[in-house]
Symmetry: C2
Subunit: 331 residues, 2 copies
């Protein structure tokens, strides 16, 4: 294992200490627990949005806590859920009188802990509503069973914008739900990653192999085989997405080409170029393109392609609202 760390056990907390020190005055932790990550900005009467998930996916999840996006994030150990108590403590800190949206990925541990936190909040009269990202088309035919991956970024943007416009909890939820309903992702890996406390990869890929559909924790995909070209990968990925959601000629999408951590930005733009050419050939317009690292798997090489179908002008306004966090800024 080749990582710049002090100890494998200290990975998450050392990272958090670095983040809090680097971004003092913007983010803080509460309840004396580094894992309770909150924005320093508070707007009375705004719906608060809380996310959470395991470490190892930066800028996901905590990286989206900031202006016009999220208010708090429960930070788990590497690839593990934060605890219900942590989520509850964060919620108490960030709720500002208008309820709290729990917006996170579709993973068993996270669901269990967010649900428990919601119950604790209900007992104190704090209203919450939950929605999970579940955009990974290849992870299941059943939409309800799909894993949440990079497409959650579009849900964060939508819900964050609506909350910043002082929408009600129902309205913030509806914006997140609309983004979710219209978003699909296909991802693939070229190399594995190493969980620090494990010390070795949990799978191997040959020097000329890729894994289509692999999850961001190394969950098995739909095929392992010869590495394809950028054009071929784009073709297959868009085929998968467009057979799952109808997007006709003349419609528009937002496009996110996301790097999993170990892949160069140069390659992401090559892939984005392939995707945009194919979409253009189908008469599908790209309203806005995002390229970079949005949801990673530490040093895993690979990428994902997310499309969000734009069904109304309001979705564009949500996409275009400037946001600013220590990890992500859109002017």
């Amino acid at each position: 294992m080749k990582k710049i760390i002090n100890t494998p056990e200290g990975y998450t907390d050392d990272m958090l200490r670095g983040i809090y020190e680097a971004h003092k005055g913007k983010v803080k932790y509460v309840s004396g627990d580094l894992r309770c990550y909150c924005t320093c900005e508070r707007k009375e009467g705004k719906v608060a949005i809380v996310t959470g998930g395991g470490t190892g996916h930066l800028p996901l999840f905590l990286g989206y806590v900031g202006k016009n996006m999220l208010d708090g994030c429960g930070v788990g150990s590497v690839f593990q859920s934060p605890s219900a108590e942590e989520i509850y403590n964060i919620t108490k800190e960030v709720e500002a009188g208008s309820g709290v949206l729990y917006l996170y990925g579709n993973y068993t541990g996270d669901i269990m802990n967010f649900d428990m936190a919601a119950e604790l909040c209900a007992m104190e009269g704090i209203e919450t509503k939950s929605i999970v990202g579940a955009d990974d088309v290849n992870s299941s035919r059943d939409e309800g069973k799909r894993r949440g991956v990079a497409g959650i970024f579009f849900m964060y943007k939508a819900a964050g914008a609506r909350a910043s416009w002082m929408g009600s909890l129902e309205e913030v939820y509806a914006s997140a739900e609309r983004a979710k309903r219209n978003t699909r992702t296909v991802g693939f890996a070229l190399t594995p990653c190493v969980i620090p406390e494990v010390g070795h990869p949990n799978f191997t890929l040959e020097e000329d192999e890729m894994a289509m559909g692999m999850g961001i924790h190394g969950e098995p995909g739909i095929w392992n085989g010869k590495l394809k070209s950028a054009d071929e990968i784009a073709e297959e990925s868009l085929g998968t997405i467009l057979s799952d959601i109808e997007i006709g000629s003349g419609e528009e999408v937002a496009l996110l080409v996301n790097g999993l951590g170990g892949t160069s930005i140069e390659e992401l733009y090559i892939l984005a170029g392939s995707v945009m050419r194919i979409l253009s050939g189908k008469g599908i317009g790209v309203y806005r393109t995002f390229v970079g690292e949005y949801a990673t798997s530490m040093e895993m090489a690979g990428a994902s392609i997310s499309l969000m179908r734009i069904e109304c002008e309001e979705m564009k306004r949500e996409l275009d609202l400037p946001v600013s966090t220590p990890f992500y800024c859109q002017a």
Copy 2:
């Protein structure tokens, strides 16, 4: 070689096509040459700033072309200089009546071509002035012979701010020079990268080895040896930097912890935490911390640490000015 590409020969131009398509209306190319990268924004009377260098370092170099930063960038093939003609064509496009600053890295090919471009410009009455980034302390004892690496970011910020405030060419140069004079970088690699048209790494490192002082094109460093901990790496790197530039207790610096491409953001924050603890122990304040991928070497794992000593309040204003490019945004 495991890369998401179409052909090794098409790497640079396929990347550029993806970038122009993704960021239409923000950046464009001129003279019918994809390698002549320019901002779409023009401000009459502003000093223009042009950079350039080889492909393989995104967001360096072209990623800093945008609002309150740079105006144009000559794009070379992987690890190669852009041509003098390309730099000249970019210069003609972006110059806005007040002269042009050439600001790039200290590499032989780049110097030759920027100097030739400057001569071509002089013949047409376009005034230029040149300054090179040369911040890599371990690359030479002679400051004039040092390679330019991630620290050029601070020069871009300084010069970009001064130009946006309508400073003269002399003033823009002076801001870049002040940033240069106060900036030092130490970098190290954990894995090599692969030039697409070569197809294999140009060096190897054992599974438990790192290379201290390695350059962003794989230039040899000062030692290869056992991988150290984040704390040890920070200690050695700061020792090197602070023996080269005097920064006393009570003084302030800007800190940049930069990932070389294949290293996770989590590790960068662990390293940043180590650096900030050591600086704090020495009584050196950190005015602002930047952590992320600022100057990469494609998929190379590793990082660099840059300090810029802050010698006056004006340097803080230059650092704090919001900037926005398709690749980098600071609110």
